[in-house]
């Protein structure tokens, strides 16, 4: 399969080159097949987001990636979703293929939707899945997005989300990046409308030899907009993870609040854990803060549970699941919760 070199997850504001954090170089497939999307019979657009929405539609993965999809998305792989109260989609990845699907959802003013997306592998073996989701929220509209990655441990996933929020719109998402060997997840929220809100929660479990690369951008343009970004994840021995987060308060976004928290649990002794949470600010009347805690399970937590009679193995299992459970609890769809918890349970059993 021929490939094309690309730059994705470009850091919003570059920094020292020796850190090698400014961007990620990847090789994307030259040809893509349409991903299998269930239930079948959805409306297809025959076009990608960049055709639908114009050139400025980069998700966190970047404008270059958007352009790549624009020119490489196969016909029949672009979908326009109807803003129903509950939309449930299943993407099934096939081994030996590079598959893509692009979704566009526009939620009109005042409407509430839940979109559950589940990614699973049809069989064992390496497969690549590229997913792009473009969301437009009208005034007072709200979307609860769930994206569960239950791909097999040989898979590669590129997942981009871009949401443009109108006045008082609310974007709440829960994403679990637990499957797959390599996950690139980008997310960009344009909080254009006054009082719009974006609250992305992300859980991830990067196992030995696996890699996660995240780029989450919250752009505050409107007044009194707010965001609350929460990442809780686990890195096993020999895992590699990069988290780039941005909260950008543009001039005029007065009264806005941006919060971001990252919690990383390290279970091994050797790991590659890179974090660069940016806050950019050109507006006086805002509040921004972020926090990160990185380390192993705390002695205090372990002793407490030990004093209740739980042995070391049980404690480790409970606390590891707790890190992910904290995020799963935020899913408003029971089926999605059960599916991902079962998947995590199986992962743990291995």
């Amino acid at each position: 399969m021929t490939e094309t070199k690309q730059v994705i997850n470009r850091l919003y504001a570059p920094t020292w080159r020796w850190l090698k954090l400014n961007e990620e170089q990847v090789s994307l497939p030259e040809s893509l097949a349409p991903a299998k999307v269930l239930p079948e019979g959805q409306t297809t657009a025959g076009a990608s987001a960049s055709v639908l929405y114009g050139p400025d539609c980069g998700s966190g993965l970047g404008a270059d990636f958007a352009a790549y999809l624009g020119s490489h998305l196969p016909s029949g792989a672009g979908y326009i979703l109807e803003p129903e109260p509950l939309i449930r989609l299943s993407l099934v990845s096939r081994a030996g293929q590079a598959q893509a699907a692009s979704f566009a959802l526009s939620v009109p003013g005042g409407k509430e939707c839940t979109l559950c997306m589940d990614y699973a592998s049809e069989e064992k073996g390496e497969g690549t899945l590229l997913v792009d989701l473009q969301i437009r929220l009208g005034q007072g509209a709200s979307l609860h997005l769930i994206q569960n990655d239950r791909l097999n441990p040989d898979s590669c996933l590129y997942n981009g989300v871009r949401v443009v929020c109108g006045k008082e719109a609310k974007m709440d998402s829960v994403q679990m990046w637990v499957g797959g060997k390599t996950v690139y997840a980008g997310y960009r929220a344009e909080l254009e409308g006054d009082a719009s809100v974006c609250t992305p929660s992300v859980g991830y479990w990067t196992r030995t030899g696996h890699k996660s690369d995240f780029n989450y951008e919250m752009v505050h343009r409107g007044k009194e907009t707010s965001c609350d970004v929460l990442f809780s994840g686990i890195l096993d021995e020999g895992a590699a993870k990069t988290f780039r987060g941005v909260i950008d308060f543009k001039t005029g976004s007065s009264g806005s609040v941006g919060t971001e928290n990252e919690n990383v649990l390290l279970t091994g002794d050797r790991v590659l854990n890179r974090t660069i949470p940016l806050i950019l600010c050109s507006e006086e009347d805002v509040k921004g803060n972020h926090g990160a805690t990185i380390g192993k399970l705390s002695g205090e937590e372990k002793f407490y549970l030990s004093s209740r009679g739980l042995d070391e193995a049980s404690i480790d299992a409970l606390l590891v699941r707790a890190r992910l459970n904290w995020i799963v609890e935020r899913m408003k769809d029971e089926k999605a919760r059960e599916q991902i918890l079962a998947f995590i349970g199986e992962m743990y059993a291995e």
């Binding site: 004093s307 209740r308 009679g309 739980l310």
Partner: protein, 251 residues
């Protein structure tokens, strides 16, 4: 001679390089209520942590004997499964771990048998009702965002579910309002009701003791046991504080 239930034998405990507890001796029989009192910083909580097996503290001399066997080398969970319980002064907050989930597993391990979710929740509900704690707390993440009083109640609930043989309560009444103290006392009473549980209450105030029948009082000052007496000692301390127990040069 009947097997000794619980004893501290010349116990010396250090945290890092500092020895905090210097040679404490005491003995507890089944069904007894012991109180350990002393001024702040006397080393009372350290004794509690050492009995439970907190890895931050080391026993450098002496023994902790449970059912006649020394337990200083055992890990905390083994001591817990054997029947020792510590109610923490500041219980850890663990996000993502619902209280009922943790407790279910702990109770199963303590009792050595599987318990159905239905039966467990039923039992938990009645215990929570006794402590007047809303059942919604059971599903909430362990201690996370709980007020001081709620944390203490949650500890007592766990104690009642785990049914230890020896329960150590560390400053259980500190930070509680009048109503909460009463509720927690009721919980403690419920624990003592079956007459086989023993209590070791660590405190520097006497509120929680008002409704309990205390068997022995031990006064700890500067890491040493300076006096062991009966329940009257509590009243004495209530009236005149710890003055009379301080070594001469400290006065």
């Amino acid at each position: 001679m009947a097997e000794q239930f619980f004893a501290l034998e010349n116990l010396h405990v250090s945290a890092g390089e500092n020895e905090i507890v210097h040679g404490v001796n005491l003995e507890v029989r089944p069904g007894e209520v012991h109180v350990i009192m002393g001024p702040n910083g006397a080393g009372k909580s350290t004794i509690g942590y050492a009995i439970m097996g907190n890895p931050e503290y080391t026993v450098n001399q002496g023994h902790i004997l449970f059912h006649g066997e020394p337990i200083e080398e055992l890990s905390a969970d083994k001591r817990a499964r054997a029947g020792i319980f510590l109610s923490f002064q500041n219980p850890a907050e663990i996000q993502g771990l619902p209280m009922n989930e943790m407790l279910h597993q702990a109770v199963e391990q303590r009792r050595g048998e599987k318990i159905s979710v239905w039966n467990f929740n039923k039992e938990l509900k009645s215990v929570m009702a006794l402590l007047r704690m809303d059942t919604s707390y059971a599903k909430r993440d362990l201690n996370f965002g709980f007020s001081g009083g709620e944390k203490k109640k949650a500890e007592i609930i766990q104690m009642l579910m785990l049914k230890p043989e020896l329960a150590i309560l560390d400053e259980t009444d500190s930070g509680l309002d009048v109503d909460a103290v009463r509720t927690v006392s009721e919980g403690i009473h419920a624990y003592m009701k079956d007459k086989t549980g023993s209590l070791l209450i660590i405190t520097h105030s006497t509120r929680i003791l008002e409704s309990l029948k205390v068997d022995y009082t031990h006064v700890i000052v500067n890491g040493r046991l300076v006096k062991t007496g009966g329940p009257e000692l509590v009243e004495q301390i209530n009236q005149s504080g710890f003055e009379s127990f301080l070594p001469d040069q400290a006065k």
